[in-house]
């Protein structure tokens, strides 16, 4: 455990070294947040509630979604690909720690940094521009945190599974971008699923992606009843467990097919 905590610490220190990147990231995200909030304001145009969600709730949804997006950046996909290409994956595997443990620790370290460097400034800017995005209640907030954590794991496992393709194909090209674009739509991070056509929504509700953004955000703004929330979180846990099992199986196979290039 100590080894992993050390990785988290190193990650935090190295991220703190790039000041311009941080400012630029905050500006880009702030721009996006502002534009999306204006988008929703224009869409509502004074209408009270559309499909059961009010304008202020939708703006809260957007602000929290943008902040979550910055906490949910997964380095693991690129990390596996680059260490397979450079051959350093062999050295990682020699170390007396689990390589996926290392990768997860790195991403968690990045998240801690992102929280203080980007999430907090964004929350402040969002509050100044559109008012404090308050959760529906304290209980809702606690459930949001729980659901967000499970969502984080689901997102991480999906990213790791994609990253492991690199063991086979070495270079993944734009595959990661494709995944990013698809996830953006299917997870409800930009547009919540309740605005989707009915048939499509039914399919998406069953897929794991909604559990990453839409579920925690829906809980945050108080979209679901208590019974529904619990049911959905149980379902989220089931997805997490299922993906974990797939991950364990694939990981064993992937390790066997590692090809060391130089190194």
């Amino acid at each position: 455990m100590k080894a992993y905590l050390f990785i988290v610490k190193i990650r935090i220190q190295s991220a703190l070294a790039y000041r311009f990147n941080v400012i630029s990231a905050i500006l880009v995200q702030c721009l996006f947040m502002f534009a999306m909030a204006c988008f929703w304001k224009a869409a509502y145009g004074g209408a009270g509630a559309v499909l059961g969600v009010g304008e202020q709730d939708m703006i809260t949804y957007t602000i929290i979604s943008v902040i979550m997006g910055n906490l949910l950046t997964m380095g693991v996909e690129g990390r596996i690909e680059s260490s397979v290409r450079s051959g350093s994956v062999a050295l990682d595997m020699l170390k007396p720690v689990n390589i996926y443990g290392i990768y997860l620790a790195e991403d968690l370290g990045d998240m801690v940094v992102a929280f203080f460097q980007i999430a907090v400034p964004l929350l402040i800017l969002g509050t100044v521009m559109f008012g404090l995005p308050v959760p529906a209640s304290t209980v809702h907030f606690i459930l949001f945190l729980l659901s967000f954590s499970i969502g984080y794991l689901i997102n991480w496992i999906l990213a790791a599974l994609l990253g492991m393709c690199a063991f086979k194909v070495i270079s993944m090209g734009p595959v990661r971008n494709v995944k990013g674009f698809i996830m953006k739509l299917l997870s409800g991070s930009v547009i919540p699923l309740w605005f989707f056509p009915k048939g499509l929504r039914a399919v998406l509700e069953v897929l794991p992606f909604v559990n990453i953004y839409q579920l925690p955000l829906g809980i945050y703004i108080g979209r679901y009843t208590y019974g529904e929330m619990l049911l959905r979180i149980v379902f989220q846990l089931l997805w997490c467990a299922a993906l974990w099992l797939i991950f364990i199986t694939v990981q064993k196979k992937a390790a066997a097919s590692v090809l060391i290039q130089g190194g």
Partner: protein
């Protein structure tokens, strides 16, 4: 003069051919990018469609006109990525002293730099761009005539020049800052937000900002509004012509900044 232009064109053609040949060496990369770009724009477009379906309209714009606006935006994005993607690497070139090579040759530095690596992959952006564009044209029942075609071509040229100018401008800043600070993400986000959605969804001060001070609204918003005949304009000149004018002026200014910046270029140590 004529001879000089001919010479420049022939060099551009030769460089372009080389760039295409080298990129054709990786056909799967190309196919991957076609897929990635298609997915990206389809996803972006779906977002608009779902919201407008639920709400009816957005900032006074219906679904059909937004489809056309989106198509124009993606198309001009594709064009600028084809011709000006090199500008993304300007900070790197300044720091690493990559301009030495161009300075030694008897041609304009910016010209050489822009044509050095014709971006074939950028064309993959054009494919979804054209799809959405024609879909938008069909949705708004655009009549195919000389005036409309000319206006669309004017707009696309102007839009490409405006976008390219902003990129060159941001890249040239590194002559002064001497840092690898990269504005690509920021500018990309700005372009997307201003050119894909009607400007009317933003507050008044933002509209003024993007009309006069940072004229990004001319990339698509004003000319498209004019082409669709959405409201009688105040000025008798077609907006597409103004867009082209804004593009030419901005491009000239950014080239000027690049030239001035070049005097501050000091190559790399060692």
């Amino acid at each position: 003069m004529w001879k000089k232009i001919k010479y420049y064109v022939s060099v551009a053609a030769a460089l372009t051919r080389l760039a295409i040949q080298s990129q054709m060496e990786y056909p799967f990369m190309l196919i991957g990018h076609v897929l990635a770009n298609c997915v990206q724009w389809v996803v972006g477009f779906a977002t608009i469609k779902f919201v407008v379906d639920s709400f009816g309209s957005l900032g006074g714009w219906g679904y059909e006109s937004m489809a056309f606006l989106y198509g124009m935006s993606v198309l001009s994005h594709g064009l600028v990525v084809v011709f000006f993607i090199q500008t993304w690497y300007m900070p790197y070139c300044v720091i690493e002293g990559e301009y030495d090579m161009f300075l030694l040759r008897p041609m304009g530095v910016l010209f050489q730099f822009l044509f050095e690596d014709f971006n074939l992959i950028g064309i993959t952006d054009m494919i979804p761009g054209l799809m959405v564009f024609f879909y938008g044209c069909a949705k708004v029942h655009l009549t195919v005539n000389f005036a409309n075609t000319a206006m669309i071509l004017f707009t696309l040229t102007g839009a490409t020049l405006i976008r390219g100018a902003v990129w060159i401008f941001c890249g040239s800043l590194s002559f002064w800052t001497k840092s690898t600070a990269n504005f690509t993400d920021m500018v990309g986000e700005l372009f997307e937000r201003v050119s894909m959605y009607p400007l009317t969804i933003y507050p008044k001060w933002t509209q003024v900002l993007f009309t006069f001070f940072l004229p990004l609204a001319w990339i698509t918003f004003y000319p498209v509004k004019d082409i669709l005949g959405m409201e009688g304009s105040v000025i008798p000149v077609p907006m597409a012509v103004i867009s082209l004018g804004v593009g030419v002026v901005m491009f000239a200014l950014s080239c000027g900044l690049f030239r001035v910046g070049m005097y501050r270029y000091e190559s790399a140590g060692s």
